[in-house]
Subunit: 329 residues, 2 copies
DNA sequence: GTGAAAGCGCTAACAT
DNA sequence: ATGTTAGCGCTTTCAC
């Protein structure tokens, strides 16, 4: 691999001149520049990114950290983060936190391989976040409200969403409502569940233990939990899935069991993923403002990168989206 | 930010000793090691990743290059690449080729910020691929059959897929078949179209110009193309969407226009994305072996990274998936 | 077992 | 306008 040294030698100029020419500095004469560029071309010279980053001690890159690169993607969120990065002239890479402490994500965070990060990965501990973030290395976390030096949070009001979803069912006459839960260590799930409980309590309703089942936030989990619920004999009149992925799995289980939605049972989800609109029946759910939150997170990160002062926590509102999976009783 | 120098000083040892201790080299005495580790802890020392990469001149990271980080995701493919990377002890990052020559993807490729890459992005030119790849920097390209030094391809047999899809329609009695096309510069689209034409020709059928519309491989494009097709008055009995995303858009347009699928019109897609199973009616389509191709691409990349000899081009078979959007005429 | 020193490829301050 | 040079933070050879 040819280095800038080789280019300089071939062009017959000093190392620094070659560097200036290559980066388009105006103080180098156009004749010299041409010579250097030509030499670079001949040698198929490619600058070494690390050497530059090391010297500059910044990368011009931010990272988006996700639990799993293979989705389910909050594609709207990713898109808005991408747009913000692009418009700030920064590069964006995505990396996964699979593997926890040994994951790519943690490596990039700890070894400062980027200038800052947006984190949407519950398996990155607060500990790592707190010890990695600093004024010089800002982090925006989107799935919890942890804050600290260089660490701020942008979250969506999950408690209110859980409340709204449940309230919607109750207003339509439902009294027997199941809650299919996400992982017990999930902050998001906890909030949604709290909202669910608040609405239930307020309506003088009681949660039934047999109707609270775990689905781990994945489609297969929703499917299995629903199957299990159906095996128990008595069915609730409505079920609140703590996210849409599980609701999609649940719909499939219900369909297989010959339980018609929404005639025999109402189903509500949470997230408003793309698929929600396409399943049958179209899923009533709580919309998370993905675009807004991604965009906000991105902007905040750049403000921090620019040394501007920002608040330490932001909370965005959710919205009930009525489709066809919920019916008046 | 504390450097290894600071750690060494605080621990009262030489730079090199600190380095050895930190990387767990066995030749350093456990007493010294403890001293160094303790100093590192006190200073909240984090190694600088670039300095290490620069010195080592390898990153232990591979990149997956996608057109758009925000999907539509070939999530199965990503997952299998991720698995292979993980099992080889490598890190994986994803980056987007949006922005073409100025994209993050090109920067990572040219500046060798990773050890190798898997590319699934038609807007990365052959030129860039060829000039970036080398024995020391292997690339596997998955959306065309370009090959060269350090550059091999893993593709799916799109021509055969186009043929199979069309043949399926013809066998069920269809004679009037529309083709909703992807971007004209897409290699994938070209292959599928060739397969379509081969089946048509073989059956003595003629393609009608008015029934070949562009949809750019996106949902919205499929929707618009279908609307346009419907405005033309006469409808074909079947339509072949060059990918599932467009088919999903098309189904929506058809539904809105009150055209029933598959009774009045049959619809077939290509890709077998996750959504295909969930739209209504469930989409008959051509399955791409995402898992296999991702896994193969990953394994090949690591073989190249290990200096092993590999073939330069691999072609995988597709499979027709019959669901409910196609009907005998 | 530990330390001194070279150097990875680059940028930028400084000198000419 | 061009050249000289000092590092960026790390790994690793070589001497002790």
């Amino acid at each position: 691999m040819a280095t800038i040294k080789d280019v300089a030698k071939l062009a017959g100029v000093a190392l620094s001149t070659a560097s200036y020419a290559l980066s388009g500095d105006s103080k180098v004469s156009s004749k010299t520049r041409e010579k250097v560029l030509e030499a670079a071309r001949q040698l198929n010279y490619r600058k070494n990114g690390f050497a530059m980053d090391l010297k500059r001690s910044r990368t011009n890159t931010i990272a988006l950290i996700l639990t799993d690169l293979s989705g389910p993607y909050y594609s709207e969120l990713i898109r808005s983060v991408q747009d913000v990065a692009l418009s700030n002239g920064y590069d964006l890479i995505a990396c996964s936190s699979m593997g926890g402490k040994d994951s790519t994500a943690v490596k990039f965070l700890r070894e400062k391989r980027v200038d800052g990060a947006i984190v949407l990965a519950h398996n990155i501990t607060d500990d790592i976040l707190l010890s990695s973030a600093s004024a010089a290395f800002p982090i925006v976390v989107m799935d919890r409200k942890t804050t600290g030096e260089g660490l701020i949070s942008v979250v969506v009001d999950g408690e209110q969403g859980g409340y709204d979803a449940t309230r919607h069912l109750i207003e339509l006459g439902h009294r027997q409502i199941a809650y299919i839960s996400g992982p017990s260590n999930s902050f998001d799930n906890a909030l949604r569940y709290q909202g669910f409980l608040r609405a239930m309590r307020e309506a003088g309703l009681e949660e039934k233990a047999k109707w609270r089942l775990g689905g781990s936030f994945i489609r297969e989990g929703g499917y299995k939990a629903t199957k299990m619920m159906m095996m128990q004999g008595e069915l609730p009149t409505a079920v609140f899935y703590a996210n849409d992925e599980m609701a999609v799995g649940g719909i499939k289980a219900l369909e297989e069991g010959g339980v018609s939605i929404p005639d025999e049972i109402s189903v509500i989800g949470f997230d408003d993923i793309q698929l929600a609109e396409y399943v049958h029946p179209a899923l009533t759910t709580i919309h998370q403002p993905m675009h807004e939150s991604g965009s906000l997170a991105g902007h905040l990160l750049f403000q921090m990168l620019n040394g501007e002062e920002v608040n330490e926590a932001y909370k965005l509102k959710v919205e009930l989206i009525r489709r066809n999976s919920v019916k008046q009783i």
